[in-house]
């Protein structure tokens, strides 16, 4: 590079007035090794956003209906994805030299930032190097019929019980990097790490209301376990049989139900049932499916390739090899 002394003297103060790039980014909108807007897009790309589904699951046989498929994310694959995006507009050797020089910093920054994409607003920023990323693809009618399924991942089995409630940033809770419906019945989820236990919970789409029902002679009967109106705990004693209106199907006789509830101490109905107390008695808890085998699972139980490695070595490599 030829440097003209005069130009340097004239331009130096101006050129140096611009701050050199800051290496460690502290806010979401700050430019780091790469401008913030570009970084956000690349992070989303790294979390496979916008990648055609056929690239994720190359054959429909890999994801049959009513199945859940677990996987690890191949970092090399996502690296190649980002490299492809960065390669746009590299025309000459200079461009590529420059990209080569900057790429390690860019990659490290993306590693850091991919955690911060789903970070709740106002919480601390996540730091640290890239760890393994895992996830699952769920194809089921449960995805289409129950939108907004809740997914929780834990690095350790919650000690209390399967219905424990661990805050999102609590210990043992694993962050979700992505949770998105790719199609009406296909759900993709990425975890920041490899979870031990994963809970899939029925969406609390408006807490549901209902009874415990069962077939009985002549029709259907229903029962209600009364709850304490203040503590929400179940009251001791037998469940209340739910009365129905005669002459129609399924219509609940709420007035008589109120009288039945009033006889139970603590149900809140003694002084007249109001709508909040009625709703409280009827709340049904959503169902929670727990994935995670406490015992070690041999891989062959969960993954059976059609061609084993041995076959591959003995036949494919030799017959087709050069």
């Amino acid at each position: 590079m030829r440097v003209n002394a005069e130009t340097v003297l004239r331009d130096l103060p101006l050129a140096l007035a611009e701050q050199p790039p800051v290496v460690v980014v502290n806010t979401d909108d700050e430019d780091g090794a790469i401008p913030a807007g570009l970084r956000e897009w690349l992070v989303r790309l790294r979390l496979l956003e916008g990648v055609p589904f056929a690239y994720l699951v190359a054959d429909t046989e890999l994801l049959p209906p009513e199945s859940i498929r677990w996987f690890y994310v191949d970092r090399r694959w996502t690296d190649a994805l980002v490299q492809g995006a960065l390669a746009v507009g590299t025309v000459n050797t200079d461009d590529r030299t420059q990209l080569t020089a900057q790429y390690p910093a860019v990659r490290d920054e993306l590693d850091r930032e991919e955690r911060n994409l789903r970070r709740r607003k106002g919480s601390d920023r996540y730091q640290g190097d890239a760890g393994p990323v895992s996830g699952f693809i769920l194809r089921s009618r449960a995805v289409s019929g129950w939108p907004a399924v809740h997914v929780r991942a834990f690095s350790v089995d919650p000690v209390e019980a399967d219905d424990a409630r661990v805050p999102e940033d609590g210990p043992g809770r694993m962050r979700l990097l992505r949770l998105e419906r790719l199609a009406p019945a296909v759900l993709l989820c990425l975890f920041d790490g490899v979870p031990t236990v994963v809970h899939l919970e029925e969406p609390r789409q408006g807490v549901q209301f209902g009874f415990d029902t069962g077939d009985e002679s002549g029709g259907m009967g229903a029962q209600l376990r009364p709850r304490n109106a203040t503590t929400f705990e179940y009251l001791t004693g037998d469940p209340i049989p739910v009365p129905f209106r005669t002459g129609s199907t399924g219509v609940v006789d709420i007035q008589h139900l109120e009288r039945l509830l009033a006889s139970r101490v603590g149900s809140g109905a003694a002084d007249g049932l109001d709508s909040s107390e009625y709703a409280l008695q009827l709340v049904r808890f959503p169902f929670r499916q727990v994935f995670g085998e406490p015992e070690d699972t041999p891989v062959r139980l969960v993954f059976q390739p059609t061609i084993s490695y041995q076959t591959m070595v003995t036949e494919v490599f030799r017959t087709g090899g050069v």
Binding site: M1, V3, L12, P13, A15, L16, A17, P35, L38, W41, L45, V51, Y55, L56, A58, E61, P64, E66, I68, R69, F71, Y72, R76, W77, L81, G84, L86, A87, D94, R96, L99, L138, S140, A142, G145, V194, R204, G206, F209, G218, G219, M220, A222, R245, T249, G250, V251, V252, I254, Q255, D274, S276, L280, F287, Q289, V299, F303, P305, I307, T319
Partner: protein, 638 residues
């Protein structure tokens, strides 16, 4: 109040301060002052008109946060009560359901109609959306609405009773940070309306399950609250399952006769041809049987009984021929109750495995590494098989990162069997295409690269200067912002002492030429008119006589004028030259010679420096008029 994540607070009702409607507020003021009565100080009332709007015939789509069961879905919903969650917390209490009914009674009810029990009419004028003969006072929110046409007997069977309605709507407050419960609401307050009926699936005559389609309607009860039952009819510990849907097409004449009680056999039996037999025993379609009086018949005839085709649902029930009612429907959705499919059953029956697990019956080439054999058409058109593995792999992969590649072809791998592994190359290519598909990203990339070049250039300059700077400042570490400080220091020094660095600044005001007033006023005056010096001396008569004798210089006489002008100008030039202290050897231009390049004053015998350059610093020789104007920073100044 902070609710706390995962918790919610239930309220029996949240009543709005004002019900929907039109209001007039009148502000009045009375003034009092000593010596004046209030009547003498009138203040006009200020009426303000306020309309409190609320949905009446149609629910705005953004007000509905969720409906359960999911619209259009099919599942085992028999043990759950349908519900609708509304964004506005006060909505169920924004209207008075009927005069005389406590305000705590909601004007909305969610009713569940099995297929065939009632008819939903869409897009009707709102005036027709209520039972004929009734009108709802006040404005309608839409032109067209939907209504549910339903027989009174069905209303009595499936609608909630008047005492039930207040129990079926409540408000809920959730934590605004809890996205799971918020469901996209803005303030954390929601209103919930629950149905009073369980959507049971049907049973055929053999007891096997049959699907039943239900229609959930959020109906407006305004003005028709008294149509509901006052209190519950008889109850039963169990409820029957709905039987298969039947449709009875009756002969109109027979129907009329049955209706009017003129026939002996006064029952309408379902024709034997329809498909499914009623489930419950003893099903007859009975109408009232006794002979009626004329006035009864007339009253009956005046009513709406024109619907000869009656769709009955519960085949075991008596279908009485009673008037139909219409209820405005704000929101409706339908779903099918059938089967054992619940979220739980779906989840428990999931086929769980690592990605790559396939049905062995399907001939899919999956190797243990997770690679999949796929057909591949190469650039040259060859049809080959290649290996592909997406980002989702059944095994943990190596933590070693991929070195930077600049083209997809750098990532193509030939495996020992001769096939290509195009996984990474495909990833590179799809990444490139995704970036190219977004022009804003391409622009951002190019801009970023440009900035990178500038930074690199700056760094190169800095590196080149570094040895010199190190020599100057020694071992101190140079702040990269040195340049900024340097620039600012330089600017400061220049502005404080400009005469040392830049040169004399120009004075704010240029002094004018001093007037030469030497001599008596008479002499000066005479000189100004180019008259002999003694003209104005003496008595006025002398002056006048002298003036008469003196010659008047006229511009029309060139020779004379020029001579006089040249004389005067020469004098001025002489004086100017004398003013300049610097001894200059340059000879003065002789009088009469004209500069060859003076275009504007061809008659001027001398260069008119004095008057022409008054606004500029005076230079001994002055710039030639043809010279480009020079700035006062010229180095040739003394």
């Amino acid at each position: 109040m902070a609710v706390g994540e995962g918790r919610f607070v239930l309220y029996s009702r949240i009543e709005p301060p004002l019900e929907a409607g039109e209001y007039r507020f009148t502000a009045s003021q009375s003034l009092t002052a000593t010596g004046h009565t209030a009547a003498q100080l009138p203040v006009a009332d200020l009426p303000t008109y306020v309309t409190v709007r609320s949905p009446r015939y149609a629910m705005p789509p953004d007000q509905v946060l969720s409906t359960y069961p999911p619209a259009g879905s099919e599942g085992s919903y028999g043990s759950r009560l349908p519900q609708v969650v509304i964004r506005r917390r006060t909505l169920p209490w924004e209207r008075s359901v009927q005069a005389g009914v406590p305000r705590s009674t909601p004007w909305l009810a969610l009713v569940l109609i099995a297929e065939g029990e009632a008819e939903l009419k869409l897009n009707q004028p709102v005036a027709e959306c209520v039972t004929p003969g009734r009108t709802l006072p006040g404005k309608a929110d839409t032109e067209l609405g939907s209504y549910l046409q339903i027989r009174r007997s069905v209303v009595h069977r499936v609608f909630p009773t008047r005492l039930d309605v207040p129990l079926l709507a409540h408000a809920r407050e959730v934590d605004i940070h809890d996205t799971e419960l918020m469901m996209g609401d803005d303030d954390g307050f929601l209103a919930v309306v629950i149905a009073n009926r369980l959507p049971l699936s049907g049973r055929d005559e053999h007891g096997a399950e049959t699907p039943v389609k239900y229609l959930a309607c959020l109906v407006n009860l305004e003005g028709q609250f008294t149509e509901l039952l006052e209190r519950s009819p008889a109850r039963a510990p169990v409820t029957r399952f709905p039987a298969a849907s039947v449709t009875v097409k009756a002969n109109l004449v027979e129907w009329d006769h049955a209706r009017m009680g003129h026939t002996g056999t006064s029952s309408v039996a379902p024709p034997a041809s329809f498909g499914t037999a009623p489930y419950a025993p003893g099903s007859t379609w009975v109408a009232t049987g006794e002979q009626r009086g004329v006035s009864d018949v007339y009253t009956e005839m005046a009513r709406d009984f024109s619907h000869a085709a009656v769709a009955g649902f519960v085949a075991g029930e008596t279908v009485s021929l009673d008037p139909t009612l219409r209820f405005p429907v704000l929101l409706h959705w339908s779903f099918t109750s059938y089967g054992k499919v619940t979220f739980r059953s779906l989840m428990e029956d999931l086929d769980s495995g690592l990605l790559g697990t396939t049905n062995p019956a399907q001939r899919v080439e999956v190797v243990e590494t997770g690679h999949l054999g796929l057909d591949h058409r190469t650039r040259r058109g060859d049809q080959v098989r290649s290996w592909y593995r997406g980002p989702c792999v059944a095994h943990p992969t190596t933590a070693e990162r991929l070195p930077l590649a600049h083209a997809a072809d750098q990532l193509r791998i030939i495996v020992p069997d001769g096939r290509e592994d195009i996984s990474l190359a495909a990833a590179f290519e799809i990444g490139r295409l995704l970036a190219l598909s977004r022009p804003s990203m391409v622009a951002a990339l190019l801009r970023w690269r440009q900035t990178g070049y500038q930074t690199a250039r700056r760094r190169a300059v800095w590196d080149e200067l570094a040895p010199f700077l190190t020599e100057v400042v020694g071992d101190y570490v140079l702040d990269p912002r040195l340049g900024v400080h340097l620039g600012r220091g330089l600017a400061k020094a220049v502005t404080t002492r400009p005469e040392e660095l830049l040169g004399d600044p120009r004075p704010l005001a240029t002094p004018g030429r001093p007037l030469a007033l030497d001599g008596t006023p008479e002499q000066v005056l005479a000189q100004g008119f180019s008259l002999p010096a003694g003209v104005f001396q003496g008595s006025p008569s002398q002056v006048l006589s002298r003036l008469r004798g003196s010659e008047v210089i006229l511009a029309r006489e060139p020779g004379l004028k020029l001579e006089a002008l040249a004389h005067t100008l020469n004098q001025v030039v002489d004086r100017l030259v004398a003013d300049v202290r610097r001894p200059v050897d340059e000879p003065r231009l002789p009088g009469g010679t004209r500069p060859p390049d003076e275009p504007r004053l061809p008659e001027a015998p001398h260069r008119p420096e004095g008057p022409r350059i008054t606004g500029r610093p005076r230079f001994p020789e002055g710039p030639r008029p043809s010279d480009p104007p020079r700035l006062p920073d010229g180095g040739d100044r003394g």
